[in-house]
């Protein structure tokens, strides 16, 4: 993404209008835009901390330049005269050297500059330092030039800047007179120039924030009420620190091994392989984890992190109750206070898990608002967190929510994919051809997929819940039917109406009954690395029976969506191919649903 410099600033309101630019310039050389060092200091104070502050000089002495660098202070120096190389070498901050371009011969000179950046401009008129005239950009095409050090100036304005960028691909564009009206900077023109130069605002959000604020393509971010920003930022810093701390990782893996019972087998499913008549089927056995599903991998990681941050109170949401049970379990283990929000509809269909949480000492709060399912439980958990943020950690159960949650949950769940990769290499000596996992918010899937993202030969398939069918009103097929939106702290794909109201999701599986999908999945769907298919309630139930009877493994309803999709996948695969299914959890919790839906089964 091309950076933007607004040059020749003299007034406060113009510095503020340039707040979305990457650099501002102060002219210290003779010019109608000249400012004193004192004035530049005052203006500089109004700019964001991460703004580059660039001083423009023409044949100034080293002392003058250094004085300005220290006093303002400047982060870069731009030279428009005949400054010798030895002066450029002495300047401690990065240097931009300006060149006027008339002919192809002038272009040759650019490559000889020892400066960090080269600024190209049309020849000046009254003063040196740019004229506001456009030079022939095509002079920069087809010459050997390092465009990553190229700064384009000269006659740019909001109407031509996009064309200039696409023709010359510069590191930065520099504008001064092009954002003026009657010789004075114009706030609206400044804003519009930046907008034009940076493309649409969404693209800019990613670009400007991708490093510190966790975006996956256009998805992610930290869209939370201001009261939570401190906690989110603290968590971001604490996780960054813990992630790189060998002791923390050791402790996390200790509990995974000694308490959860990892590593879990990658079981060859001989009878399913035979029955489906296609590829060799392997099952990643997250159902064997203590508490019965993959959720505990994340709960342990976050609970350790919470303690590291000095927080001994935990709030969580739960859909199917597996995350609630995992959280309640870990809170019992570590002696942490635990409150779990759960939709009343889910409480009805997952009574066993409610009882387990209570037995483990957690407080279960019934959420009667909305559809009384996972979305509403997340809302209440967020409200609880807003109110108790100073001493409480929100232990989100899926790869959702504001950054760093989607990244952190993925990392804690990546143990699934890492083990799978090692195991399949041991057993088969090669990577699988396809992997299928179910997606609600998407935590088991992203944990399984992530270690394989770079392995282009491995097809990755997510199975989302189609409920009664994607063409009915009752489904949770966010990637098939959803659109971009902000919910629960992140930009992601959500089910919503034309007015931007989030719709209720429907799935027989409480764990997939959510109208959003985590930001990384939304991104992987957009870029095509993962394909997502929708599985109906009926197809999932059929797969429950099939796997139970073929392999003696009763899967959770969520996992059954992956199994149903895998069966479809297997039809187009051959006997020498390998297909891995992530069995994210076991079916104990769903026994009441199975008993009801499968009544009359013989």
């Amino acid at each position: 993404m091309t950076r933007v410099k607004i040059c020749g600033l003299m007034e406060e309101q113009h510095v503020k209008a340039a707040s979305q630019a990457d650099a501002i310039g102060f002219v210290f050389a003779p010019s109608k835009r000249r400012v004193s060092i004192e004035r530049a200091q005052e203006l500089s104070r109004l700019a964001n901390n991460d703004m580059q502050r660039i001083g423009v000089f023409v044949n100034a002495s080293y002392e003058e330049i250094e004085n300005a660098v220290k006093a303002v202070p400047l982060t870069m120096v731009q030279l428009h005269g005949d400054e010798p190389d030895e002066l450029i070498r002495r300047i401690e901050v990065p240097v931009i050297q300006a060149f006027s371009i008339r002919t192809p011969d002038d272009v040759e000179k650019l490559n000889n500059s020892i400066a960090d950046y080269i600024l190209v401009d049309a020849p000046g008129t009254d003063y040196r330092g740019g004229s506001g005239h456009v030079f022939d950009w095509s002079l920069l095409e087809n010459v050997d030039l390092d465009h990553s050090r190229l700064i384009l100036a000269g006659g740019l304005n909001r109407d031509n800047v996009q064309a200039a960028i696409s023709q010359t691909a510069p590191f930065m564009v520099d504008v001064s007179s092009g954002v003026e009206t009657d010789g004075r900077k114009d706030e609206v023109k400044i804003q519009q120039f930046i907008l034009q130069a940076k493309g649409d605002s969404m693209e800019r959000t990613q670009e400007k924030t991708i490093d510190p604020v966790g975006f996956f393509g256009r998805y992610g971010g930290q869209f939370v009420p201001e009261t939570l920003m401190k906690a989110v930022k603290e968590l971001e810093a604490a996780y960054e620190d813990a992630k790189n701390d060998a002791e923390f990782q050791k402790e996390y893996h200790h509990y995974l091994k000694e308490y959860v019972g990892r590593e879990q087998p990658l079981t060859f499913a001989a009878r399913m392989t035979e029955a489906w008549g296609g590829p060799k089927i392997y099952l990643k056995r997250e159902d064997l984890n203590h508490t019965g599903a993959h959720k505990v991998n994340n709960a342990i990681g976050q609970a350790l992190l919470a303690q590291r941050m000095g927080k001994r109170k935990i709030v969580a949401e739960t859909g199917a109750g597996q995350h609630g049970v995992a959280t309640a379990t870990i809170c019992a283990l570590f002696d942490l206070d635990c409150v779990v929000f759960m939709g009343e509809e889910d409480i009805k269909r997952q009574q066993l898990n409610v009882f387990r949480m209570k037995l483990l000492g957690a407080r279960v709060e019934s959420v009667t608002k909305g559809s009384g399912t996972l979305k509403d439980a997340v809302n209440e958990a967020l409200r609880y967190w807003v109110t108790n943020v100073e001493d409480t950690h929100y232990l989100i159960g899926s790869a959702l929510g504001p950054h760093p949650f989607p990244t952190m949950v993925r990392d804690f769940q990546s143990v699934i994919g890492k083990e799978t990769k090692r195991q399949i290499l041991e057993k088969e000596g090669r990577l699988p051809d396809a992997i299928v996992a179910c997606v609600g918010g998407g935590s088991n899937a992203i944990g399984m997929f992530h270690p394989f993202i770079e392995d282009a030969s491995v097809r990755l398939i997510g199975a989302e819940a189609a409920g009664d069918g994607v063409d009915t009103e009752r489904h949770a097929a966010t990637l098939t039917k959803g659109s971009e939106g902000v919910l629960h702290g992140a930009m992601m794909k959500i089910l919503q109406d034309d007015a931007g109201q989030v719709q209720e999701a429907h799935s027989i599986s409480a764990g997939l009954d959510y109208p959003g999908i985590g930001p990384e999945h939304a991104h992987l769907a957009d870029n095509g690395r993962v394909t997502y298919e929708a599985i109906t309630d009926d197809e999932a139930l059929e797969s429950v029976i099939e796997m139970s009877r073929l392999e003696g493994i009763i899967p959770a309803l969520e996992s059954a969506h992956a199994i149903a999709q895998a069966k479809k996948q297997a039809q187009s695969m051959t006997a020498d191919e390998l297909l891995v299914i992530c069995v994210s959890g076991r079916g104990d919790k769903d026994m009441a649903t199975y008993a009801e839906k499968l009544e009359g089964l013989s």
Binding site: N49, V213, V224, A231, V386, A499, G500, Q501
Partner: protein, 256 residues
């Protein structure tokens, strides 16, 4: 919005009323705005209902759900505002969660809000860091994007946020969601004093302000008050006149 700075200079306190647009039907919106401006409020926040209002307590959430049940959308509210046949004498600020704006289109939203007579926008789930999603469009329409600061806003961010503040600053006086409360926390006075020292624009206290005792406590530390849940509930129950003493307590000339 200039009026708010003038009011501050004149030493008067501002009273900002929040209403849920379409609670009781879209036709109530104009009536409520007229009533409030007649009663002397300084500005009015027009709330847009949202399905998942995580910054709001039960009163405003319930009002939002009533409005949603009547089919109220952002578009309908802006349309209705453009059709007002009375003179709007106070600044109107649209308060909405981010998703309806994204769905509507940020640029189109600012254009329509401007046509609807709005002076500013408040988006509680759009933090300062992501303001560029909206701010450039708002600027084009000369709408101010009101920033919120809270008791938990860390010092360095507080300074950054206030540096850019326009219109007024929304100082959230509780660590929590919207809604009436009996008491405000001890540290609120020190917090609003600090915000007021750093802010180039008037500072209004909001969230949890529902009683004259709250106003008395913070009067010297803020430039005005924002009252939401108490007004929303009073309109809903048809007893808005109960709010009048609170408006008077804020806006009446006060001898020190």
């Amino acid at each position: 919005m200039k009026r708010l700075a003038e009011l501050k200079q004149a030493g008067h306190k501002a009273f900002v009323a929040y209403i849920m647009a379409g609670d009781g039907g879209i036709e109530k919106l104009g009536e409520q705005i007229q009533y409030l401006q007649e009663r002397g409020v300084t500005a009015i926040e027009v709330g847009i209902p949202f399905s998942d209002p995580v910054a709001d307590g039960p009163t405003i959430e319930a009002a939002g759900n009533r409005a949603l049940d009547k089919g109220i959308t952002l578009e309908k509210v802006l349309d209705e505002m453009q059709r007002f046949d009375f003179e709007v004498k106070v600044p109107l600020v649209i308060m909405t969660y981010l998703n309806p704006v994204i769905r509507f289109g940020a640029e189109r939203f600012t254009q329509e809000a401007k046509k609807a007579g709005a002076s500013g926008v408040i988006i509680p789930d759009l933090p300062f860091e992501h303001r560029q999603l909206i701010e450039p469009f708002a600027k084009q329409q000369e709408l101010v994007l009101i920033q919120l600061v809270t008791l938990t806003t860390i010092e360095s961010r507080l300074e950054e946020i206030l540096k850019q503040a326009e219109g007024f600053v929304y100082a959230v006086t509780v660590t929590g969601i919207t809604g009436s409360r009996d008491e405000l926390a001890e540290e609120v006075g020190a917090f609003t004093r600090k915000v007021r020292e750093l802010s180039p624009v008037p500072v209004y206290a909001g969230f949890g302000i529902s009683k004259e005792s709250h106003v008395d406590r913070l009067r010297d530390d803020v430039d005005g008050f924002i009252v939401g849940s108490a007004i929303v509930q009073a309109f809903h129950e048809g007893r808005i006149e109960d709010i009048e003493p609170l408006i008077d307590a804020v806006t009446a000339p006060h001898s020190v």
